[in-house]
């Protein structure tokens, strides 16, 4: 049997879950929002989930209610001028990043700001 180096990748002592209500804006390009607004100190992993329309019962939201995730340059001015990682409802993305790297998300600007905001769940481990 070959000898192998064992690396412990487990995360030790901190866990936090938060919800961010990602809102569409009226007129023009919507503002991006930070996920979460205040990063957890000492974090080493972030998991971002599109949990559907804010206030909908679980499983009730249309799957095509996209959000776009990225850094501070993430944008969704139009379908052809988007930059970021799109997440449909119930899709998630996981990043091994610490608190010095802020994450942002933005909504499709064609959504109705009076009706459509998205419940984004964020899990941080450190």
């Amino acid at each position: 049997m070959k000898e192998r180096l064992q690396i412990d990748t487990s995360l030790g002592c901190k866990l936090r879950t938060t919800s961010v209500q990602l809102r569409a804006k009226t007129g023009g390009t919507p503002d991006r929002q930070q996920l979460p607004a205040t990063p957890m100190l000492g974090r080493r992993l972030v998991r971002v989930l599109n949990f559907g329309r804010f206030g909908d019962p679980p499983g009730a939201s249309p799957p095509l209610l996209h959000i776009m995730v990225g850094d501070q340059r993430v944008r969704w001015s139009s379908a052809s001028d988007a930059s970021g990682l799109p997440l449909r409802v119930y899709e998630y993305v996981e990043f091994p990043i610490d608190e010095s790297v802020p994450l942002y998300a933005v909504l499709d600007p064609t959504l109705d700001p009076a009706q459509d905001s998205v419940d984004v769940r964020v899990l941080e481990l450190g």
Partner: protein, 137 residues
Amino acid sequence: MTGAWPRAPDQRAAEHHASTAFNVDENGYLLVTQAASSQIVAQAKTVTDATASTPIPQNPSGVPTSLVARRRVHLRNFNNPDTEFAHVWVGGRDVTTSIGYPIPPYEELALDVTDAIQLYAIVETDKPVDLRSLELA
């Protein structure tokens, strides 16, 4: 020892310690495993409380427990999505359905966390969830 020159710092370190710690393969790659060493524990807990968080995993006696030197936890919502559609939300002690991380029926959440982190779960009123856990150490 074989491998292309110049060798990477990791490989030089490996050569220094190769006899006692680890190996470098024929291509000069450090052999690494993330496999768990020796222990695995599976538990089942029906989470029913919608007003207070429930510590998980729990042993068959209903006592919160964590595998010593744990390195990974798998949590699975084992409700049937057709007949028992209900989510369970996971997080810290303060977890609620408003801020917790949801697990839909037949879905799983895997977390690389040690036994220093106590996990909690909560459900909606009158929507119990059969939550299965698998811990590795």
